[in-house]
Subunit: 332 residues, 2 copies
């Protein structure tokens, strides 16, 4: 029913190949087509409401202008930033993106997403905030499509990634608090079963160690990066009278900490300093503004996309982190 290249050819009185070449601006061996033909064909194409059939094109050319993105089911605010970066870079190269959602830790859903993406002839796959199960890891490798992980570092050396150095994040945040005179610092809300959480905790411990502060088990309370985890942590930490600062696993956790602390009549930052991680927009929106370790999410998207598109050797890299100053930390 829809107009095809042949329809145009018939109306214009030329061959399909002519139409094809004109419509995709391809010059033939010597020069090109007669300008008259070109304008006529283009005009007819427009009149007939012609739309390219991407499936046909992809079938014959065996390539596509599509990037696959695989996301963990819950698209957090920072995933959004990464996607923005991807989009920006992709559109620069006239590429489309297709997005598939994998569950948080659901192998079957992960595989589903991988299949979905790999069945379309995508130019590459960007995996956001995901760690694959061994089986799925194997599936990804055998698909023979360039891929890169974003935002979470991978341990296998051939699984390249662009992410922040999470050890550094924990280390620098803690260092910052110590430099502001804090000594009793809690670390809360991170998912300690995850690689990311583990690394950040390691960084935290290292910073303490370098300043000869004894690590205190009671000061570490796990969670899952959520608002409620911050609330929960404060509830538990109520009894810790010496505590002067809390390092939250994410900005969201920090918000929970701040609100719960306020309910308990603690003033921030004079009674309690709070520091977040991520440096999302949330920092500016809550009160007092949150001091946080800012990650370069947008940059991760851009860099990852670049690596895929430019087909240079794909390799792992850490993006920079920086301190985003707010008003939630004070000198003690």
């Amino acid at each position: 029913m829809a107009t095809t290249i042949k329809d145009i050819a018939r109306v214009a009185g030329v061959s399909p190949s002519t139409v094809s070449r004109i419509l995709s601006n391809k010059q033939t061996l010597y020069s090109g087509y007669a300008t008259e033909t070109i304008t006529r064909v283009k005009q007819i194409a427009e009149d007939l409401n012609y739309r390219k059939n991407r499936s046909a094109i992809e079938l014959v050319t065996k390539t596509s202008q599509v990037l696959g993105i695989i996301l963990s089911a819950t698209p957090t605010n920072f995933a959004q930033e990464i996607i923005s970066g991807i989009q920006k870079e992709a559109s620069l190269h006239h590429m489309d993106t297709i997005i598939a959602y994998a569950g948080e830790d659901d192998d079957a859903l992960q595989l589903q997403a991988l299949k979905t993406i790999s069945e379309r002839s995508v130019k590459g796959i960007l995996l956001l905030g995901i760690t694959l199960s061994p089986t799925n890891e194997h599936f990804l490798r055998s698909a023979d499509i360039p891929y890169i992980f974003l935002s979470v570092a991978q341990s296998e050396p051939d699984l390249h990634f662009i992410a922040s150095n999470d050890f550094d994040i924990g280390y620098q945040a803690t260092q910052y608090l110590i430099n502001h005179g804090h000594h009793d610092i809690a670390f809360v809300g991170a998912n300690l079963e995850s690689c990311v959480g583990h690394l950040r905790l390691d960084g935290y411990r290292q910073a303490l160690k370098e300043h000869h502060i004894t690590y205190h088990d009671d000061y570490v309370i796990g969670g899952n990066w959520l608002y409620v985890d911050g609330v929960h942590a404060v509830n538990i930490l109520q009894t810790q009278v010496n505590l002067t600062a809390i390092l939250a696993g994410s900005d969201l956790v920090a918000a929970g900490v701040m609100n719960r602390a306020r309910q308990l009549n603690r003033v921030i930052p004079s009674d309690l300093s709070v520091m977040g991680i991520d440096g999302t927009l949330l920092c500016d929106v809550i009160y007092p503004q949150l001091t946080s370790i800012k990650q370069s999410f947008y940059e991760m998207g851009v860099q990852g996309t670049k690596q895929i598109i430019e087909k240079t050797h794909i390799e792992s890299a850490y993006t920079s982190i920086s301190i985003k100053d707010g008003a939630s930390v004070t000198t003690h």
Copy 2:
């Protein structure tokens, strides 16, 4: 290079059609294939690492399992909720989604996105928070693909949408504030050039009118739904000594209002009541918790997707709104 159905056929010693039918679980006229054949073919497919070629399938079947989503460039927090709804419903029907970003008010980008989507044989198009220019509107219609607008109502009767009733939002929010004893109520941060902003303003005015409160031009300050618009509005409204409540165009605006008001030593809600619109997660995260008009974003996504997939007659609908209670409004 990649394995095709023919490769499998050769190895298995059967015809490509057999492989095709087995791999897509299609039964033939009478019963099916021999179980032995079925298991053998499936095994070989797996061994050979076979991946379907979607382009080929879409070409021959002339349909696809793909939904197109067109987004305004800045994916706000609520767009995320809508997308979640779409994803949920889509995956229920084993459909994929492809996302294209159109600029905020950039006709060329809009067209680009429309082309991108319509060239792939998508089952339908979901347009999020977008109003098309007349030309692009025409392009969309002529593509002959089912479409539906989400989250922003359209005036043309054949452009079906699922959205909140924005007049109602303005009306009910204002009503709520009036019922809480407020009389001098500002309306700030909405984009008054947009249809949505206009409707909400109308609702606001209607509520005032019904309670015989004179509409006050100085109480309305436009913006673009952003945090800074809230800050800006409070700066201007400083001089209005009678003001006891502010209705913000969005939750983000409300956050700006609250923070700026606090800087000016106003206590919320005792000195100033603030109400938001959208009912996003932000409401729970900021302090005090924000009272807001909650929109059913997730539901919009689900409903829109359902309409497209189930191919029933597509029609416009309003989703429900409700009051999300916080602590930012007090009785005056």
